[in-house]
């Protein structure tokens, strides 16, 4: 019997995974500055893991979070302290640190039982500030606002040395995260999350304990973010409170929404789009343009970024994944395309 989950062209997935792992080799052949491109992709990969978790929370469960950079920070700092100061091996820290972030998720999940919508968003934003302050206050371990250096990751004796190694480590974890998140979404858990988002009453009438599942959603989201934090710490080798700015949290939500909330692939695409846009395309564009006009103000990059985002939202409000679905439907129906909605 063909299961209902198999309708999404599983045969392409191994090809995609292969492409992900072959990409650095192609890049290396194509350009000598491949390490720079790989580094940007690595950031995107780390953020992807976080935004997948954020999507489970905000896109699927409908609980707004504007403080996700805090979970990233908790994961990063826990792992840095555990590995470098307590002496726990990295392989173990991968499991412990996300759980710590997840437990913090429970702490912030507790107000979420009563607070909703934008109110919750702002509560989580406050949580972000509180965590930042906590990190500064624990300066004995965290180095306070000066930040702290972090050692390189070592997995089973193999040290992850440079961007090349990081790429393979990070994207392996990204693939695992996507698979786990997909599994969550199509299981009882995911249904419960979506039911909470769309109708709390129906969820309760179906026997879903709102409190338990909201907390669970925060916990899982914290796990993903904390895990991203572990990778963040051990691949950038230096963390400080400046890394985990409130604006970063807002960017995370932007990534999820640009991709299309409520879809795992959307979160991945949105993250890739924003990170590449901000760190790669716009600087390159600026370099290209600098040959012709002299740019006095450095805000030019930010302006282009905001402008592209605005155009994107106005012309594609459903996000990248929505755009992809539209294109797919377009080709499926090819000669008989529906007219554009004229309103």
């Amino acid at each position: 019997m063909k299961g209902r989950y198999d309708d999404e062209n599983l045969k392409w997935i191994p090809v995609l995974i292969l492409a992900i792992f072959l990409f650095p080799f192609i890049l290396k052949g194509a350009t000598s500055s491949y390490k720079y491109y790989l580094y940007v992709l690595n950031i995107a990969g780390i953020y992807m893991i976080l935004t997948i978790g954020l999507d489970l929370l905000s896109g699927f469960t409908g609980l707004m979070s504007l403080g996700h950079a805090a979970f990233l920070a908790i994961g990063a700092y826990s792992s840095a302290i555990l590995v470098d100061q307590v002496g726990i091996p990295f392989e173990l820290s991968i499991f412990i640190s996300p759980v710590i972030a997840g437990l913090f998720g429970l702490v912030i999940g507790f107000p979420a039982l009563r607070i909703e919508g934008m109110y919750l968003g702002l509560t989580t934003m406050g949580f972000g500030f509180i965590v930042k302050r906590l990190i500064i206050a624990l300066r004995e371990w965290t180095g306070g606002s000066a930040g702290m250096p972090v050692s390189k990751a070592t997995i089973f004796g193999f040290t992850i040395n440079n961007d090349w190694d990081n790429y393979f480590m990070i994207y392996s974890f990204v693939i695992i995260s996507v698979i786990i998140a997909r599994r969550i979404v199509i299981s009882k858990l995911g249904r419960a999350f979506m039911a909470i988002r769309d109708s709390e009453q129906a969820a309760q009438a179906s026997g879903i304990n709102l409190a338990k599942y909201k907390m669970l959603s925060f916990f899982i989201s914290g796990l993903f973010a904390g895990f991203a934090g572990v990778l963040f710490a051990h691949t950038s080798h230096f963390i400080s409170t400046d890394h985990f700015d409130i604006l970063l949290s807002i960017y995370f939500i932007v990534m999820v929404l640009i991709g299309g909330a409520g879809s795992i692939y959307g979160a991945v695409l949105g993250t890739l789009f924003i990170v590449l846009m901000e760190n790669l395309f716009i600087p390159l564009f600026k370099d290209g343009l600098a040959k012709y006009i002299h740019l006095e103000a450095g805000d030019f990059q930010a302006f282009i970024f905001g402008f592209i985002m605005l155009l994107f939202i106005i012309f594609q409000p459903l996000g990248l994944y929505g755009m992809w679905l539209k294109i797919r439907i377009y080709w499926k129906l090819f000669p008989f395309n529906p007219r554009r909605r004229s309103t």
Partner: protein, 388 residues
């Protein structure tokens, strides 16, 4: 015969040296590429604009004279928006893609700390990071041997200020107002050292980045009977604090760290700012040394607008001297090691803009001297020589 052989050997040697010339990244026969990472879109974008402008003014001057060893110095500027993550991206771009010879004047403490691992990995030296963190020149830290720090740390500044205050008035009660971030943490580090050395306690008052209101802090200083206040702010904070205390009829002596050496402090604070004492680690743009004189001359020549001239623009100009001197002292066909070795030969070197600078294998803190300046009649006047 012997002559021919020796000529051939000489030619071969010259050829080998020629081969060596082009291997160093960022250096061609006509150009040296330098990378600079500034905050062009973040909270201190004003500095991100002014400092490189000053640097470029000096580099243009040097380039017009034929450059260093016949090479023009070209500086590429990237933005980090005061975000360490973006600083790393920018550094990677400069080093991997643009292939710069060296990094220079990266601004901010956390941002500079964040690119340490990259410096270590790629062996690119960083000359004159624009941060006054005291631990920047610590050689035992990662990439320590690659960083040449030319700013006096905030801890040094705090120490000197406390020493000076106690010298003037042994019974002074000192208070400090600090920004509650890494800037403040560095200030407090020096304050704690000074407390221990003198056996005094200093009242601490915090404020948040971007705060507009200092009534609470000023009131607290007043209640604590503080006679000498050290302000670890930039421009807005000393101005507002001095105006607030004037309104509250509270008149202690005010002191500030290097970022407060801005002509606008005197301008904005008016008579409330009279007597405000700040400290700086270079000669002021209007002093009569050779560096400042050149600065004024170049400003006139390039028609630099009046609002751009000032301590930040000058700072970019002043630190560029050290970079250029380092490049001069590197070999004729510079390598990164050559630049490092060249800079490490500086021994009490007078740039005209800075106090005598010394770098060697064991010391990468070029300047640990500061000079106190006081606002008198709305203008900053040097009131001491170099203090250590």
């Amino acid at each position: 015969m012997k002559r021919y052989v020796s000529i051939i050997i000489m030619a071969a040697l010259a050829w080998i040296r020629c081969e060596n010339r082009v291997t160093s990244p960022g250096v061609t026969d006509t150009e040296i590429l330098i990378g600079n990472i500034q905050d062009l879109s973040g909270p201190i974008k004003e500095l991100g604009f002014l400092i490189p402008s000053g640097t470029n003014m000096y580099l243009d001057y040097i380039n017009a004279q034929g450059g260093v060893h016949g090479r023009q110095i070209k500086m590429l500027i990237e933005d980090h928006g005061y975000n360490p993550q973006k600083a790393v991206v920018a550094a990677k771009k400069l080093i991997e893609k643009d292939q710069v010879f060296a990094l220079y004047n990266v601004i901010g403490t956390s941002t500079t700390e964040a690119i340490r691992p990259i410096l270590e990995e790629s062996g690119v030296p960083l000359v004159a990071p624009a941060t006054m963190s005291g631990t920047m020149s610590d050689l035992s830290r990662k990439a320590g041997h690659l960083i040449f720090h030319t700013d006096a740390g905030y801890d040094v500044q705090s120490n000197v200020l406390v020493d000076y205050i106690l010298e003037q008035n042994a019974n002074a009660k000192i208070g400090v107002v600090y920004q509650d971030d890494d800037y403040g943490a560095n200030v407090l580090k020096g304050i704690a050292e000074a407390e221990e050395r003198h056996g005094i306690t200093i009242q601490r008052e915090a404020y948040q980045r971007g705060a507009t209101d200092f009534v609470g802090q000023t009131g607290n200083l007043m209640k604590g009977g503080i006679t000498d206040v050290i302000i670890g702010g930039i421009v807005r904070e000393p101005v507002t604090i001095m105006k607030t205390s004037q309104a509250m009829k509270y008149s202690p002596h005010f002191f500030g760290h290097a970022p407060t050496v801005d002509a606008r402090v005197g301008l904005l604070a008016g008579d409330a700012g009279e007597g405000f004492t700040s400290c700086y680690f270079a000669y002021l743009p209007d002093s009569d040394k050779s560096g400042p004189a050149l600065y004024r001359e170049l400003c006139e020549k390039n028609n630099v607008p009046e609002k751009m001239r000032g301590i930040y623009h000058y700072y970019g100009f002043a630190t560029a001297h050290i970079l250029v001197e380092g490049l001069r002292r590197a070999e004729e066909y510079p390598t990164r090691e050559g630049l490092i070795n060249g800079l490490e030969t500086l021994n009490n070197w007078e740039s005209g803009t800075y106090p005598p600078i010394t770098f060697n294998k064991n010391d990468h803190a070029g300047v640990e001297k500061i000079m106190l300046l006081q606002i008198q009649g709305g203008k900053q006047v040097a009131i001491t020589g170099w203090l250590e």
